[in-house]
């Protein structure tokens, strides 16, 4: 490859280098006669030979290590960490997606632009026939799965805001490991462009400002903070609407929470765009929604003056200005800006968050009022239909108020001046950081939080955490639940269950018992056998207890138990099938119970003697928990369908109000009695599919375990096709929003078969001929059985099939029959796929308890099932004629039969896969230990492989102050 020319250049170069500097010219003159190009080629190399200190002069490794060290010195360690964690995927970042690339339902059309936070493409939504924008984030930013999850949570929450001033996000997904966001496609420009062209008119600046403030206000109300607001993140559409972009993205780049920070770094990493940073951000302190108010002030200032309030020659100077200097008055730069507006701007720019507007809605309100009062006419081209849905109080009352507006503006100005705008937003603080904290209870004096620490494969622990973070372990047992403080804060009650002691300890004979322990620790005291309880009498002498109907089938109601004597008095209730939760209010002298009948829930209250029973409300939402207000005059409850949750309040007269505090995570909360505080959990749970290659029979080799999917979403209910070539499974962002997918068993791209949005479809079961797939879905409100072609198409409802709201209750008989469990019927029903004829499987007189996970033997004559009745375990049911055998007791969830029908495979206690010999009970072999909490699994028809869905969960306790902004 070496050309003649190259060799000649090299030869002359070396020769010239060996000469003294003064001789080189003559030498080259001579050698390059008639070839001036050659001469230039050689001569131009010489100065480079003499340069020093260039990149090549020390090894690359040193330079790179030096760069990392620089980052570390600058406190940028987290980012390097992210890079290091993500190296194997770096190439994805570099790649531009080609036209025609498919991301789910979207086909990439062209690249719109790119930036540090990813590339943005125009794409076609083939299903809805519209164009959308897709932002693909660099995977290296998101290699930290924890952080990615937090970002997802926030982006999802922001997407759910559905506000005209916030970019609408339709969907999120991952493509080759890189997360992407699908959003509406906007036409227009970022706010940076008009600002670059010069300052905006006062009217336009106020209009834009008000729109931004409204968007922020909607987000803040849900507890979402932007943290990186700047003109580049604000988009002005052609019709003059402002949209806030990139909610949640700042999460990806900001420092991690305290517990995750490497030791020795006390404050957070300074990130973000310097000019729009708030003083608290510049200091690396916690930035709440008032950080957005500050950035807003900077932007409003810039719109009005064309200049930033804080601007130095270097980033460090700018930051110091933000921390120390007062910016020049707006009117000094632009005399057209009225005093009142100037006050609004400067009030946003307070160094201390307390000095700023205390909410974005106040800000929007102030701007709106000023616009009206000063007679500045804002451009009004907002013709979109959704404009009418704006929460625009003034808009509705403009006519009525017109006369009083000037006065109003004066009053408002006075309020601004004296700093009295009464509005307190909910404030969230994380209490635990260990990812294992459930069921929090805040002590009456607010100084302690008790919670249950739950880790996979370990016993539960009842923990106590003080305000300063000190922890104390109070109790340890297989299962602990729902701690509650005694009224004087000296004791805690909780439920405890140790199934392995079932026969040894009489107290544990039937399910959990209620115990009491001092908050200083020590011995526990058994009070009564029940699932849950609450303190009733203010002196702690009485508890109210209740149990699930499964455990206590002959009694409906609660019991009033004396804590010293254990004496119990029954309070009967009726008109429900299950009791889900109770809470007591000594103040009101009332007990509340959450009860349920078919598909709905009620909250009822009653006196301890059973009198004055009152059904306060009935809803078809799930009620996750319900708690008395401190004053005993209302009940707060967390409720919802699927993954959407709302927080509401019902008064004793039955008046229901939704409480806008952004609480929509977790399932459990408690209220403090001394102030407007509640503790709750933020839970994340995700599940992935794993494949276990079984060693051949008789071999004792270790099974091979490999992961089929990885991510932070839900993959569950794997099931092999009869020919073993496909697996079908449920997949979605979480357990409550799933669709049915199939994938080649040997690996490959998943194919989506159902297309539900916000509903679930799960538990897919193949028909014996492999042509159809049955599944359970709640798409028409209640769980019902559907079937769909193995290659997709329209799903068909099996009429009259009402399932229980559980996920493990469907199988396909090795014939044309589907078997499912019917609501209100502790039995399985066979329904013919064609004739829809139904037959009960278990004789009526035997049908008690609870049946889960039916799996048919290859010959269709036997069924393995987990049966929870007097003895929980794996049962084999022979069908014709009917007989039942308990093969092995314990928490065994069957998933498949060996091809010869001799063995049943089952998941035991979510931890391991066992093989049970059908003919020889007690012959149980552990086949594999699972890498996490096993949910459900499928066995390949050849009996050689098991696909299993394994979950990991994280939960932490948070505290919210001012949780009810409307109760003041």
């Amino acid at each position: 490859m070496q050309s003649e020319r190259w060799r000649r250049v090299e030869q002359l170069y070396h020769a010239a280098m060996e000469l003294e500097e003064g001789q080189r010219k003559a030498f080259l003159d001579h050698e390059c006669r008639g070839d001036p190009a050659l001469r230039v080629d050689v001569e131009s190399l010489i100065p480079y030979a003499q340069q020093t200190g260039r990149i090549l002069d020390k090894p690359a490794l040193e330079a790179v290590v030096g760069a990392i060290a620089d980052d570390l010195r600058a406190g940028d360690g987290n980012k390097t960490g992210a890079i290091i964690g993500g190296v194997s995927k770096i190439r994805i970042v570099e790649k531009t997606l080609a036209t025609g690339t498919k991301l789910g339902d979207y086909e990439v059309k062209s690249l719109l632009g790119s930036g540090g936070m990813g590339r943005v493409y125009r794409a076609r939504d083939s299903r809805l026939g519209r164009d959308v924008a897709i932002k693909v984030l660099p995977s290296l930013l998101t290699a930290d799965s924890d952080r990615l999850r937090r970002f997802e949570q926030e982006a999802r929450a922001a997407a759910a805001l559905n506000h005209p001033n916030i970019l609408a996000v339709f969907q999120m997904g991952t493509y080759e490991g890189a997360p992407y966001l699908v959003s509406e496609l906007l036409e227009g420009e970022t706010l940076r462009e008009p600002i670059k062209r010069g300052r905006l008119s006062v009217g336009r600046a106020m209009d834009y400002g008000e729109q931004i403030a409204r968007g922020l206000s909607a987000a803040h109300e849900k507890g979402i903070v932007h943290r990186d607001l700047k003109p580049e993140n604000l988009f002005v559409t052609r019709d003059g609407r402002v949209k806030i972009l990139d909610f949640g993205l700042a999460k990806l780049t900001e420092p991690q929470s305290d517990s995750e920070r490497p030791e020795g770094t006390e404050t957070g990493v300074v990130m973000g765009t310097v000019g729009y940073m708030s003083p608290e951000q510049a200091r690396g302190l916690t930035a709440d929604y008032r950080t957005d108010i500050f950035a807003f002030g900077v932007i409003l200032y810039e719109m009005l003056t064309g200049k930033r309030p804080f601007q130095g020659p270097t980033s460090a100077d700018t930051m110091s200005a933000i921390l120390i200097e007062d910016p020049p008055a707006v009117s000094q730069v632009n005399p057209d800006v009225p005093q009142t507006l100037q006050r609004v701007v400067h009030r946003c720019l307070g160094k201390n968050p307390e000095q700023r507007f205390q909410s974005a809605s106040d800000l929007a309100f102030a701007l709106d009022a000023l616009a009206e009062a000063s007679g500045v006419v804002a451009p009004l081209p907002k013709k979109d239909p959704d404009a009418s849905s704006w929460p625009n109080f003034l808009g509705k009352h403009k006519l009525a108020l017109a006369g009083g507006l000037v006065l109003f503006a004066l009053l408002l100005g006075a309020a601004l001046y004296t700093g009295r705008i009464p509005s307190i937003l909910p404030k969230n603080d994380q209490v635990t950081f260990s990812g294992d904290a459930y069921k929090p209870a805040i002590s009456p004096d607010g100084l302690f939080v008790a919670y249950v620490s739950r880790r996979f494969g370990e016993p539960d622990k009842l923990m106590l955490q003080a305000r300063n973070g000190t922890k104390l372990e109070l109790v340890r047992a297989t299962q602990l639940d729902v701690p509650r403080w005694s009224p004087d804060g000296s004791e805690l009650l909780f439920s405890k269950y140790e199934p392995e002691l079932r026969n040894l300890n009489q107290n544990s004979a039937v399910g959990p018992g209620i115990y009491v322990v001092s908050h200083l620790g020590g011995a526990t005291r058994h009070i009564f056998q029940a699932d849950y309880a609450c303190w009733f009498a203010p002196d702690g002498s009485q508890l109210v207890t209740a149990s699930a109907s499964e455990r206590d089938p002959d009694f409906k109601g609660v019991r009033l138990v004396n804590t010293l004597t254990g004496e119990a008095k029954e309070v009967h209730l009726s008109g429900y099938s299950e009791l889900w939760d109770i809470d007591c209010s000594a103040r009101a002298g009332l007990i509340l119970a959450v009860t349920g009948t078919l598909g709905n829930r009620q909250i009822r209250t009653f006196r301890p003697d059973g009198s004055e029973e009152n059904k306060l409300l009935e809803t078809d939402d799930r009620i996750y928990s319900a708690r008395w207000s401190a004053a005993g005059d209302a009940i707060y409850y967390l409720h919802g369908k699927g993954s959407t949750k709302d927080f509401s309040r019902v008064s004793l007269t039955g008046k229901v109000d939704q409480v806008e505090n952004g609480l929509q995570t977790g399932r459990f909360f408690t209220l403090s009695r001394d102030g407007p505080r509640l503790t709750y959990t933020r839970e994340d749970r995700y599940s992935n599919l794993w494949r276990i290659g079984l060693p051949a029979a008789g071999r004792s080799a270790q099974p091979e375990i490999s992961s089929l999917t990885s991510g932070t979403s839900f993959y569950g209910k794997p099931n092999f096709s009869p020919d073993g070539r496909w697996i079908v499974f449920a997949h979605g962002p979480n357990r409550d929003e799933t669709n049915i997918f199939k994938m080649p068993a040997a690996g490959g791209e998943p194919i989506q078969l159902t297309f539900l949005n916000r509903d679930w479809a799960t538990n897919p079961a193949w028909s014996p001929d492999g042509q159809r797939i049955a599944f359970v879905s709640n798409q028409n409100g209640t769980p019902t059985v559907w079937t769909i072609g193995a290659n997709g198409g329209n799903a068909q409802l099996l009429e009259h099939t009402n399932m229980l709201n559980t996920h493990n209750q469907l199988a396909w008989w090795p014939s044309t029959d589907i078997v499912y469990q019917q609501t209100g019927n502790q039995n399985f029903v066979r329904v013919n796929d064609q004739t829809h004829e139904e037959t009960l499987i278990i004789p009526r007189d035997r049908a008690t308890g609870f049946l889960v996970s039916p799996v048919f033997a290859p010959d269709g004559k036997k069924m393995a099932v987990q049966w929870r009745r007097d003895e929980v375990g794996l049962w084999i049911i022979s069908l014709e004629p009917y007989s039942e055998t308990l093969v092995q007791s314990g928490d065994l969830n069957p998933m498949g039969w060996s091809p010869d029908g001799r063995y049943v495979y089952a998941i035991r206690s979510g931890r391991e896969i066992v093989r049970v010999q059908v003919a020889a009970p007690n012959d149980v072999t552990v086949v594999a230990t699972l890498p996490g909490d096993g949910n459900d699994a499928g066995l390949s028809p050849d009996g050689k492989e098991i696909d299993v869905s394994v979950s990991e969960a994280k939960s932490d306790v948070w505290e919210m102050q001012h949780f009810d902004p409307s109760a003041r």
Binding site: L56, A60, L61, K79, V87, M271, I705
Partner: protein
């Protein structure tokens, strides 16, 4: 689709596999090397605080020593082995620079968000990318020179070691380096 979860085998074996064309070995090697670089950077800082500075060659050899089971590399293989290490380093360091570049420079397309004035430091990585481009060009012109640069700059090898790998005299290596260095710098500046 199914990935084997077996523990990554020894670095030496991975390097061999990679030298023999197994690209997946690189994927396993990269994070290991990155981790090493990171801890090296930390130690570098702590030594600086104590007033020491670290010799470049010492640094490189420390990385190799920590990464590779030296005993398992036969003596006569060693030179060749270092050459492979150099290639690996080139891959990884350039990848690193690329990832940093995309964070800091925000790519070349129209800017959208977030890339303005991020507080970050050091432009070494961007220069490294330019060098990589020039080096690829050099390889087309003169593969041996490009190999010399690879071993010296990315691999931290001494002249003698490079001569051994390439089976040329140390003087030739020196001359190759001089010419390649000048040529690359010119190439980078002319871009």
């Amino acid at each position: 689709m199914a990935t084997n979860r077996a523990l990554p085998s020894g670095v030496t074996q991975l390097l061999r596999a990679w030298a023999e064309g197994d690209q997946s070995a690189l994927e396993q090697l990269t994070p290991i090397v990155y981790k090493e670089l990171h801890s090296l950077a930390r130690r570098l800082m702590s030594r600086e605080n104590e007033g020491h500075t670290l010799q470049a060659t010492a640094l490189i050899h420390e990385v190799y020593l920590r990464l590779v089971e030296f005993e398992s590399v036969r003596w006569q293989d060693r030179a060749h082995f270092f050459a492979v290490c150099s290639q690996l380093m080139r891959h990884i360091l350039v990848d690193f620079a690329r990832s940093r570049g995309s964070l800091k420079r925000g790519g070349n397309g129209p800017k959208l968000t977030l890339e303005e004035e991020l507080i970050v430091s050091a432009d070494v990585p961007t220069e490294l990318l330019d060098l990589e481009e020039a080096l690829t060009k050099l390889a087309q012109e003169d593969p041996r020179k490009s190999a010399v640069v690879e071993m010296k700059f990315f691999g931290g090898l001494r002249t003698k070691e490079i001569a051994e790998v390439l089976k040329v005299s140390p003087d030739t290596v020196k001359r190759d380096w001089s010419m390649a260095r000048a040529w690359l710098l010119r190439e980078m500046d002319e871009r």
